[in-house]
Every structure is written in C-alpha cells, then in structure tokens.
Symmetry: C2
Subunit: 224 residues, 2 copies
C-alpha cells in the first residue's frame, strides 16, 4: 500500500483515490509519456518526457529538465489517461473518465550500472524488444544521457470511470419533453500500422516485436 | 506571434520551437485535458484538468487547484499530444513524435459574465453542442464552480514529427548482416461509440452533435 501524505490525500468528491500499489503500476504500464513538474526560480514548469519503471522506481529522461533540476529538487510526475467524456444531463455534472497517477519526491541522477538498467527499463517500456534489437548505447552516448530515478514511495492514484451521476435528478427531460441523452463518449488510444523510415530499403520487414496490441486502451486496463 | 521569453526559448536539438499563434491554437484545439503545474509550499504539483480557449484566453477548472492557487500564483499549463514512437537504429536516437504547448502566467479567477462565457467555451470545446443541449448552470452551481482564465501571451509550442534521424550513421545493419528496421509506430486517439447511461430508456437516441469525427488524431492536426 502507498502511504498517504498531506498532499496525496483525496479531497474531491466523486473521484476515487486508490492506494493499492498494483493500481499505480497499472496506470504507469498503460502509457510512456509523463508530465514532469519542476520549480524554477519559484515558478512551475511542466514538461512532457518518457519514462519506464520497476516495482519500486520510476526512471525518466532528465535532459529536458537538466538545467532546472538540482540533486535536491522536489518534483511531481503525473501520468494521465483520458478514457472518455462524461456527458451528463446538466452542464455542471459533465466530467471526464480518467486514470491519473501523481508521484512526488526528489529524483536521483543515476550512474554506472543503474544507468544502464534504467535505460533498458525505459526503452523496453516504450518498445518491448528494442533494447536487444537496436544498437545499445556507447560509452559516449551514456555520458551524454541524463537519467533520473524517483522512488515510487509517495504517490496518489485517482480513477473516475462509469456513467454520469445525475440520472433522476430533475434534468432528464428537454424542454420539448423528450428525454435528454446522457452517457459516456469513450476515447480510445492505440497503435497504428508501423511507418517505415523512407530511407529504409523497401524489402525490410517490420520485426515481430514492433507489431503491437492496442496496449493503451482503457479496456485493456479494465481487464487486468 | 508569441513573444519568446527566457523560459520559452528552445534549447533542445531536433525539436522545433514554434512561435506562430495559429500552431498554439491548433495544439490546444486537439485535446481537452491539460496538465496544470502549481507550486505549493515550494514544491510542484501537476494536476490534470479540462480546458477550453478563445483566441486570447485559456479557461480551465480551478477546483482541483483551488486550495493551492492564490490570485498571484504563477502556473504552467501544458497540453501534450503523443503522436508516435520514433524507432531508430540506435537506442540513443529513439524518441517521440509529439506536439506540446506550454503556457505560463498568473491566472485570474473569473466571475459574472466572463464566468458564464468561460464555462460555455470550455463546455463547447469538450463537447460541441452540449451547452445548448444540456441544462445550463444554475446560480448555485455557478457559485460552486471556480473558473480560471490565463492569457495566451507567454507560450511555447514544441513539435517533433517525422522519421528517425539516424539513417546511414553506421547502425543500419544487425550483427546478422540484415538491415535494421527503423521508422515510426504511430499512436492514434479517437472517439469510440457513445455509451448510453444504463439509467436511460433504451429508445433514447444519441443526438447528432455527439457523433464525433476522430478529432484528436495527428492526421487531423497535420491536415489543418
């Protein structure tokens, strides 16, 4: 279980706070781009960047934030999946079906063996099979890469799923007397057909590990 | 044109900074959930929330951040679309095709006529046609809603599209002598079939304005 702290306690109604670590892992497993929040000269910056993770640790590229982060900077990393628009009878009750994880902490810059492990974890998370298939980093490339590690210790997961909440509350009828439609407009995200680099000879086939299932849909999440 | 400031100047290679306001509008038009960065007691928080916009102003719900934001708080609002994974010959050159907008400023809490306008803009951005179709906010609901407005004055848009950059750099061949595949794994996001509220009588049809084109795909963006 994740330990709730002052900032990870849930205050909003109608949203479910989840403290089970497997749900955190499930949200992280569904995407590969997070939003990294850092404070620079007292003001916030929110930067999209790729990530991977192990049971205990989130790894992410630090180059986007390298000039902003010092060893002791606190960050907030947020991963959000938008699963649909909740269309209610009243404008006020409209909302979003989503899953979101927020992780707080002070990231470490990793080096040596952990740097190689972290890059492998990140690469395999984005494209399973690519670490062995692609040319692995040279010493020079490793030196040019900043990888950060953040403990998955202080985290908050929020999930909102399901239909609108305002049935039978007096807004079911249009002025015409007809029943107002309400429900969810689902949003689906999935992989399309791989697009070969135009520089590639046309006979080169897509390797099997890059043919990917629809890993990012909410249905995949809900079935796990 | 957007005026670049110290924090919106682009420092990374291979990413294109865009200062044309129409590109900012185009990125904002493609989604409806942003990541709002705020500073609370010196540490960052990154919160997903819905938004809408006019030519000059971003409107977003302030309730998620209401306990964190004061009238003079600086925020960073980031909207990101992940369009695909760039699969290169070397691990080092892997990347993401994306479009991202970062907007900085001090949001205003809006009231009265602008609040109603902002809520209308936000609702119509998420679900065009819903403002007239759904029951509009009562005085009590308006009072219970915090809406924030942020000038679209200081913003940075970054776009990375296209194939990998590392053709012919010596990593084209696998150890077996075969040519290594490289290209883009596109990621598509689009609306699925509307899911009626189970509380709805089965004969109620989905109104025409909720049958939606695939408004969130990168192709739609690239055609505009």
């Amino acid at each position: 279980m994740l330990s709730p702290t002052e900032r990870t306690r849930h205050r909003r109604l109608r949203e479910q706070g989840v403290t089970d670590r497997s749900v955190l892992h499930s949200v992280l497993a569904t995407g590969f781009v997070c939003h990294l929040g850092v404070v620079v000269d007292g003001t916030p910056m929110v930067l999209p960047t790729v990530y991977g993770f192990t049971a205990e640790t989130l790894y992410f590229h630090g180059s986007v934030a390298s000039r902003s982060l010092t060893q002791d900077s606190e960050v907030c990393v947020t991963v959000t999946h938008v699963d649909g628009l909740v269309v209610s009878r009243s404008v006020f009750e409209h909302g979003v079906n989503y899953r979101s994880a927020m992780i707080y902490g002070r990231p470490r810059v990793v080096a040596d063996e952990e740097k190689l492990l972290g890059l492998r974890v990140l690469t395999e998370h984005c494209a399973p099979g690519q670490w062995e298939y692609a040319r692995q980093p040279s010493r020079k490339e490793l030196a040019a890469t900043t990888l950060l590690a953040l403990d998955l210790a202080e985290a908050s997961v929020k999930v909102r799923q399901g239909p609108p909440d305002d049935a039978g509350q007096g807004d079911d009828l249009l002025e015409s007397g007809a029943v107002r439609w309400a429900g969810v407009l689902p949003l689906h995200t999935g992989w399309g057909t791989p697009e070969p680099d135009p520089a590639l000879p046309p006979e080169v086939a897509v390797p099997a590990h890059l043919h990917r299932p629809d890993r990012l849909s909410s249905k995949a999440f809900l079935q796990t």
